[in-house]
């Protein structure tokens, strides 16, 4: 067991080191419900490549990473690592965390050294190897600092050093740059790629989870696109550009655009399905609504109308608003649900109603929003109808959350109702009192 990875014969380039075979993952939600987060995911990882897992939050990409790291067990399917079935955290796999996950009470050096302890590396060797890793990753001089004394970028460098010090064959990275500011993230990315291309990293392969499309195109040899509900592989894009890559290179832009289109496809399909379901008698109740603010919705429509003349390419729009996919998509999706905008082949376009909304004053906006809300969101229509029918014009939260839980998990029902409450309050179609947990029609004067 305590044999360091370096002693093993390194796998040759192109050799499959990790084989994921029709993996399924589900978590229990309540006594009888389970939430399916991964369904039939198969993936082979070869020595010498960087692979990106790209998808929106909730697409299960992080769940897959946790399975590979040995932190979670799949309910079904096989994971083979270096020819052996994977049981728990394994030799040769190291992980870098989004939140850095450093022990605040250990110094930089201690944080790095601790990775070697369970391998039974003697103290003196622990010290030299840790210093090497710290040196490699550019943390020289910070050995005795505590994490709270470091900037975010420096902290993540400690995270990298801790992962690299064990000389892993596979490095897992869970959105490693998303907690950093733009400049720091870019520096860290280029440093990492430089070390990789120069062969200075004691690594055979990197698997990186991200929701940043440009980051994926910048770093990876292969990008696996995940679709949500349940999480599954939607597409795979090969990236043959040479390092260092240039974001302004037309080939680079074309790849980014291509991935955007592929990522919006399931979105369009889902929206259409939702619309059809909403038209059906009891349908539409199963749509999980994202809790997005009405200010953001209005702001997005104003930008579309003012800066893009009502129609925009999604990547360009994201760039213009400096938003990530994870932030932009729920907004776009909600506009589409309300019939205020339409999404088609990577473009978003304001509808006629959407244009009227932008040109209206505050009260009119509320009226338009309210009309669309009641017409196109079935749960909103239901709440309004129940309130109208009851003589007291009041109904408890449970009345609707239970109805939703027939179609979705409890968490999802809460999120959906939270969105409905926000929108209902804005449109003044109903009120909600947090203390008594009840919907009503009365508006406080």
């Amino acid at each position: 067991m305590p044999v360091a990875a370096a002693v093993r014969e390194a796998p040759k380039i192109g050799e499959v080191i990790l084989d994921i075979d029709t993996v399924r993952q589900a978590y229990p939600r309540g006594p009888s419900n389970t939430l399916l987060v991964l369904d039939g995911v198969s993936l082979k990882l070869k020595a010498g490549e960087i692979v990106g897992l790209l998808g929106r939050s909730g697409s299960g990409k992080s769940s897959l990473l946790r399975i590979i790291a040995g932190l979670a067990r799949p309910v079904d399917g096989k994971v083979t690592w270096r020819g052996q079935p994977l049981h728990g955290p394994s030799d040769g796999i190291a992980m870098v965390f989004q939140s850095f996950a450093l022990f605040p009470w250990l110094t930089v050096l201690e944080n790095v050294e601790i990775g070697l302890e369970p391998l039974g590396v003697p103290a003196a060797e622990r010290r030299t190897r840790s210093l090497e890793a710290i040196d490699l990753i550019g943390l020289d001089g910070f050995e005795n600092a505590y994490p709270k004394e470091l900037s975010g970028g420096m902290r993540q460098r400690v995270g990298f050093a801790r992962a690299l010090v064990v000389h892993p064959e596979l490095l897992l990275m869970d959105e490693p740059f998303s907690a950093l500011d733009v400049l720091t993230a870019e520096t860290l990315r280029t440093d990492l790629i430089e070390l990789w291309t120069e062969g200075k990293l004691p690594l055979r392969s990197i698997l990186i989870v991200t929701h940043n499309i440009e980051e994926a195109v910048l770093m990876c040899d292969r990008v696996i696109i995940f679709a949500a509900n349940p999480g599954r592989i939607a597409a795979e894009v090969k990236i043959d550009l040479k390092h260092p890559r240039n974001r302004d290179d037309p080939a680079f832009r074309a790849l980014v655009d291509d991935i955007y289109v592929r990522m919006t496809k399931p979105l369009e399909a889902a929206a259409r399905a939702a619309q059809q379901a909403a038209a059906a008698a009891h349908g539409g109740m199963g749509i999980i609504l994202p809790d997005v603010s009405t200010n953001d919705l209005a702001g997005l429509m104003e930008t579309l109308f003012g800066d893009f003349d009502g129609k925009a390419d999604l990547p360009e729009l994201a760039d213009d608003l400096t938003m990530e996919v994870d932030e932009l998509f729920p907004l776009a999706e909600t506009l589409q649900l309300f019939g205020l905008a339409e999404i088609a082949s990577g473009d978003i376009r304001l509808t006629e109603i959407g244009r009227r909304f932008v040109e209206s004053d505050v009260d009119q906006r509320k009226r338009i929003f309210g009309e669309q809300f009641l017409a196109r969101v079935p749960i909103a229509a239901l709440i309004r109808r129940v309130l109208d029918e009851r003589p007291s014009h009041r109904a408890p939260y449970r009345r609707f959350s239970e109805e939703l839980e027939d179609f979705m998990s409890e968490d999802a029902a809460d999120e959906t109702l939270s969105a409905v409450i926000t929108w209902g309050r804005y449109a003044e179609v109903f009120a909600y009192d947090e203390q008594s947990q009840a919907f009503s029609l009365e508006n406080p004067e």
């Binding site: 939140s99 850095f100 996950a101 302890e117 369970p118 709270k148």
Partner: protein, 579 residues
């Protein structure tokens, strides 16, 4: 003082209403206590009293007595830490253990264990017949009961909230269970644990002082210490000796605070997980600064560090996942039911034992009387909390909004909170006797003498933490007078106030056993109440009535906590929390 929040450990519990589960666990706890009482009762008579070396009232002896008392405190603290680590870890690692351990802790918090001092003493004396160690251990046990529950709860809750990423990284690095405990779990829990240990000091001093002179039947067992010194002074009506004892106690607590807890609290700051700097200045300790800076001190500590390092680095294998079949059977519903059945049966047996033990002597009428006494003490507790709040809330807010004052008053308030106020009782008795006061009224303030300070220093902390921009906004809208108190100040400090009031209320119940009956030489003052009832029964060696009294008091405390305090706390943290 962001550090105040951990003192709420016991309150962050899940549910409000007592469930059938609580009733069962209650039966279990009281049953076991009845068993102890039963055992103690059986063996009390033939007891050979080991140590009767007289305590002397000469003040020259006081430093030695103080040392003995302090050693008992330290030993109790050590045992509390060991218990906490084991109990908390067990409750967190095993879901099934958690089902029983946490409600038991909850009930134990509410049981006035001090009423059992006599029986625990008998129990320990029997463990070491004819040896003074038994009596010493009994005193240490009292200290333990004052701290252990609160500390274990705090530790358990820290374990429950270990950040997911740090837990993941420990798994991913395959730190074994032992290493993980010392690298992640213990450090993460340290600030809350140490804070809770410090907050439990008041009760611990109170208990250790009370348990150094315990009457068993006709004989009194005295252990050399401040408590027995005071007991003797009371017996001999020596007010001067009481004065000396108070003075020495002040010095001892000051030393304890400066040499032990202040350095510990300052040191534990390093284990706070928030990576950004905390609001407000971190706690300081001159001793810690000295130890960390001075080379001599460092060399002094070096061997301990090396040893600790060795212990911590002892390698245990990373957990191996058992075969799926075993896991499935072990974690199946059937096993759950079997386990629950076991708990239910043992609870019922214990409860049956308690009832049949009590019933040999007592009928329903006695139970009603006891409950009646309970209501008298309840009224006393509530009135006193209200009075203390009326006095200390405005003062606390006034002080807390003036940083210069807060800086000076806060340590004093914390200091008074730690002081074992039973040392002051004789002074109060002398006063009441002199002015011919009505015991039912004038003994009551004694119950809250020590615990009122919790209200004061929590309110001060709340007012200090009040955001300045809200104060300025209130000022710019010209909010003044009553409106300012109602809309700004009171809601702002309410969560802190509730914390303080809960601690004060819990302490008052415990104190009632000592405060409702007090004596001065041959003079004996007695108020009506549950505390007096229990104290009387203890003095007479009437085990059945002690068990009944303790059970009734526990029910009162549990219900008061669940129905009033926890609701208020819930409301405060949901609606009035400022972050």
């Amino acid at each position: 003082m962001a550090g105040l929040q951990p003192s709420l450990a016991i309150l962050r519990s899940r549910r409000l209403l007592p469930s059938i589960w609580d009733v069962l666990v209650f039966g279990l706890v009281i049953g076991v206590l009845a068993l102890i009482a039963f055992g103690g009762h059986e063996t009390l008579q033939p007891l050979a009293v080991a140590n009767r070396r007289p305590v002397s009232l000469d003040p020259v002896n006081l430093p030695y007595y103080a040392l003995r008392t302090t050693l008992r405190m330290l030993l109790g603290l050590v045992f509390s830490f060991i218990f906490t680590f084991i109990y908390g870890a067990l409750a967190q690692k095993s879901r099934r253990a958690e089902m029983i351990l946490i409600p038991v802790l909850d009930i134990l918090q509410s049981v006035p264990v001090i009423a059992f001092a006599t029986f625990t003493l008998a129990f320990f004396l029997n463990l070491f017949p004819g040896n003074v160690i038994g009596a010493e251990l009994a005193a240490v046990f009292e200290v333990f009961t004052a701290q252990a529950w609160n500390m274990a709860f705090s530790f358990y809750q820290s374990l429950k909230t270990v950040p997911r990423d740090l837990s993941d990284v420990s798994d991913s690095l395959r730190l074994g269970g032992w290493r993980r405990f010392w690298t992640l779990e213990a450090p993460f829990a340290a600030p809350g644990l140490i804070w809770n240990a410090m907050m439990s000091m008041s009760g611990a001093w109170f208990f250790v002082v009370a348990s150094e002179a315990i009457s068993v039947g006709k004989t009194t067992i005295t252990l050399p210490g401040i408590g027995s010194y005071v007991a003797l002074a009371i017996d001999q009506k020596n007010l001067g000796a009481i004065g000396w004892a108070i003075l020495v106690m002040l010095v001892v607590i000051l030393i304890y605070d400066q040499l032990l807890f202040r350095p510990l609290v300052a040191w534990s700051e390093k284990f706070r997980v928030e990576l950004t700097a905390a609001s407000g200045p971190p706690p300081q300790s001159w001793l810690l600064d000295f130890v960390q800076r001075a080379r001599l001190a460092q060399n002094l500590f070096k061997p301990f560090q090396v040893l600790a390092d060795r212990i911590v680095r002892f390698r245990t294998p990373y957990r191996v996942e058992p075969p799926k079949v075993v896991t499935e059977v072990w974690s199946s519903r059937g096993m759950d039911y079997a386990w629950m059945g076991l708990i239910v049966v043992s609870s019922l047996v214990a409860a049956w034992f308690a009832i049949s033990f009590v019933r040999t002597e007592i009928g329903l009428g006695d139970v009603m009387t006891t409950v009646g006494y309970g209501f008298i003490t309840l009224v006393r507790v509530l009135v006193l909390i209200a009075l203390a709040s009326l006095i200390w809330v405005p003062i606390g807010i006034w002080v807390g909004l003036r940083p210069k004052w807060a800086e000076r008053v806060q340590p004093v308030a914390q200091f008074f909170a730690a002081f074992p106020n039973n040392l002051f009782f004789p002074v109060a008795v002398v006063t009441i006797v002199r002015f011919n006061g009505l015991p039912d009224v004038w003994l009551s303030p004694l119950m809250i003498l020590g615990t009122q300070w919790y209200i004061l220093f929590n309110v001060i902390a709340g007012a200090t933490a009040f955001p300045n921009d809200l104060l300025e906004a209130a000022a710019s809208f010209k909010l003044r007078g009553w409106a300012w108190w109602r809309k700004v100040a009171l809601p702002g400090i309410f969560p802190y106030y509730v914390t303080g009031a809960i601690t004060a209320s819990g302490g008052a119940w415990n104190a009632s056993i000592v405060a409702e009956v007090v004596s001065w030489g041959k003079t004996r003052l007695e108020a009506h109440g549950l505390g007096a009832y229990i104290a009387d029964a203890t003095a007479k060696g009437d085990m059945q009535r002690v068990v009944l009294g303790v059970a009734v008091m526990s029910v009162f405390v549990v219900l008061l906590n669940r129905l009033v305090w926890r609701r208020l706390f819930d409301f405060a943290s949901r609606r009035l929390a400022l972050n």
